[in-house]
């Protein structure tokens, strides 16, 4: 139940009013920076300030015509998609196993599986760099894909597990009692039901890889520079309007991801709310 508190006394009304004012300020703080740089990317001038001297798409053209940016976008997509696929396979299998496994070691295993999220990424990056360099896994795509898969898998485990939590394992038992082979039962019974969880997991995994810069900073060669890495070094040199273009593209992408994930989550909640 969510009910606006009963506002009986002046002090209560004051407190509620304060909450609203403060929250509004925080919402402004949260969203304005993300929104404020968007118009700047359409500026015809090269200074990042208002008022805009005029509107133009020159910085978008600059982005699209610069091989440095386009190849980094390609690298990010390649590494992101590969890491997503790999972490989906590993994470979904593990989530399915964890859902059925009963043991007192389960919390420990769960903690181990989720630990890549908690450990500061610099530590992971140093460890990977020192471990992968002697075996030839730095300066190539494979090493980065493996590293990003390790970072992204926990998110898949979390989202898929959350979907499985509301999944009735008796359905699988029913399927197998009716003679379905385990793989058939998975494809026809489990998969359709956990599909929304899989999609959210995939998006989380992709966003993790697509936004990761520290590991790339340590492990990539000149061929594997990704979008966040180009952004990082670009910001360090000189923050140009082209960087705001990249920021706008990334923000647009995250809005898209947010809409899909939220839509799935709400659909799931609606379904949970009306059983049968």
């Amino acid at each position: 139940m969510n009910v606006v508190p009963l506002l009986r006394t002046p002090s209560e009304r004051l407190a509620w009013g304060g909450t609203i004012v403060l929250s509004t300020l925080v919402f402004v703080f949260l969203v304005v920076p993300v929104i404020a740089i968007m118009p700047l990317s359409f500026s015809s001038g090269s200074y990042l300030t208002y008022p805009l001297p005029g509107l133009s798409l020159r910085w978008y053209a600059d982005f699209l015509q610069s091989p440095r940016w386009t190849s980094s976008l390609k690298n990010s997509m390649l590494i992101g998609i590969a890491a997503t696929l790999l972490s989906m396979i590993l994470g979904t299998l593990a989530a399915l196993g964890l859902a059925q496994w009963k043991s007192r070691f389960k919390p420990l295993i769960l903690a181990l599986v989720l630990s890549p999220v908690v450990v500061p990424v610099v530590i992971t990056a140093v460890g990977l760099y020192l471990f992968f360099a002697p075996i030839g896994l730095t300066g190539n795509y494979l090493g980065l894909i493996i590293a990003h898969t390790a970072l992204a898998s926990p998110f898949v485990v979390i989202t898929v597990s959350a979907t499985l939590q509301s999944f009735d394992m008796n359905l699988v038992r029913a399927a197998s009692s009716l003679g379905a082979a385990p793989l058939y039962a998975f494809r026809r019974v489990i998969l359709p039901l956990i599909f929304p969880g899989l999609v959210s997991g995939a998006l989380f995994a992709f966003a993790t890889s697509f936004d990761e810069v520290v590991i790339v900073l340590f492990m990539s060669g000149p061929e594997q520079r990704t979008l966040p890495l180009e952004m990082f070094s670009g910001i360090r040199e000189n923050i140009s309007p082209t960087i705001t273009v990249v920021a706008v593209i990334l923000t647009a992408l995250s809005i898209l991801l947010l809409i899909v994930v939220e839509g799935l989550r709400r659909r799931n909640e609606r379904l949970k709310g009306n059983p049968g």
């Binding site: 009910v3 700047l40 196993g97 964890l98 610099v122 493996i146 810069v213 990082f232």
Partner: protein, 404 residues
Amino acid sequence: MKRKLKRAERRRQFRSLALIFPLLAFLCFAFFGPITGMLLRSVEDLEVRRILPNTVAALASWDGRDLPGEKAYAALAGDLSVARANDTVAIASKRLNYSLIGIRTVLASTARKLNALPEAGRAKEVLEKINPAWGDHATWVTIKGASGPFTSFYLLAALDLTHDTDGTIVGVPEEQAIYRDVFLRTFIISFSVTLLCMLLGFPVAYLLAALPPNRSNLLMIFVLLPFWTSLLARTSAWIVLLQTHGVVNDALHWLGIIDQPVRLIYNRFGVYVAMTHILLPFMILPLYSNMKAISPAYMRAAASLGAPPATAFRRVYLPQVLPGVGAGCLLVFILAIGYYITPALVGGGGDQMISYFIALYTTDTANWGLASALGALLLLVTLLLGFAYGKLVLGQQVTGGMKN
């Protein structure tokens, strides 16, 4: 029948383990292995052992008092000429220079000037003639101290400590002591950001939990949008807003509040603003789910029993949200102490956190021992906090595990 059931159950358990196994095996290779390797690096000391093997062997029997015998000098001369031929002197001298600044040049010049192996029995004399440092007790103590295979040198160095020539642990000279300050700074920044997140996040979470779902869902977008937006996009947004001729300075100037641009970025203020912005959703979301689970009936009961609103809030509401506040604060703090990218981009030289130094020693100066030791300390702190977080969050869950 019973046995059969039991066997089927065991098979099922075995099958679920087989499903978890691929991810665990993968993480062993791509995560636990590397982390363990890094922890090992923080106590390993193999360079001197590898480059000067005979010297290390000769020093093994040295008691550490006075100067070592002629045998050690002869071994060193032999090792150095081999190392010079292999071009590996620098590897050992780099490591030794961490312990004793200046020894790098002693080793380099000795290797360069040592044209032929000294005659038997004259090694000490020859070496001391090339460089008088070979007559110093400290030089030999340093080599012995670095002879490995394990050392506490890097871990101590990460805490601004060192062994003196007698082997007791002492603080390093003041001008070299930086890491305690860096750790302290890391904690101060993380703590301040956590506090800011709590102060700003609490009213928002309260509002979202109190509003009817259709309205709170709409407002939730304001929290989720930055949550999903790329970290670098948000950081660059703050730079654009806060820089000297940025949007905020221009607006303040236009409003007549300031005459001169104010320095809002590349300092601590910029770090606080950007990090609070990035971490605030991690505070709001757990707080919100905690507050949403609290039935308003408690507050109504308190009111109907005559408690003034402030008392009811303090005595009835706050104790129930405290676990959520704790979980949110721990989460934000854990995430904050590992921050690297944001302070590196919006902070000044004095605002860099521990991760910055770990990265610096790994890529720029290749002092992997020290990078690993600093990483090990950061990891220890993170795991302790993560453990506390796990306890706190698991304690809150009424129903653990999944429906079977």
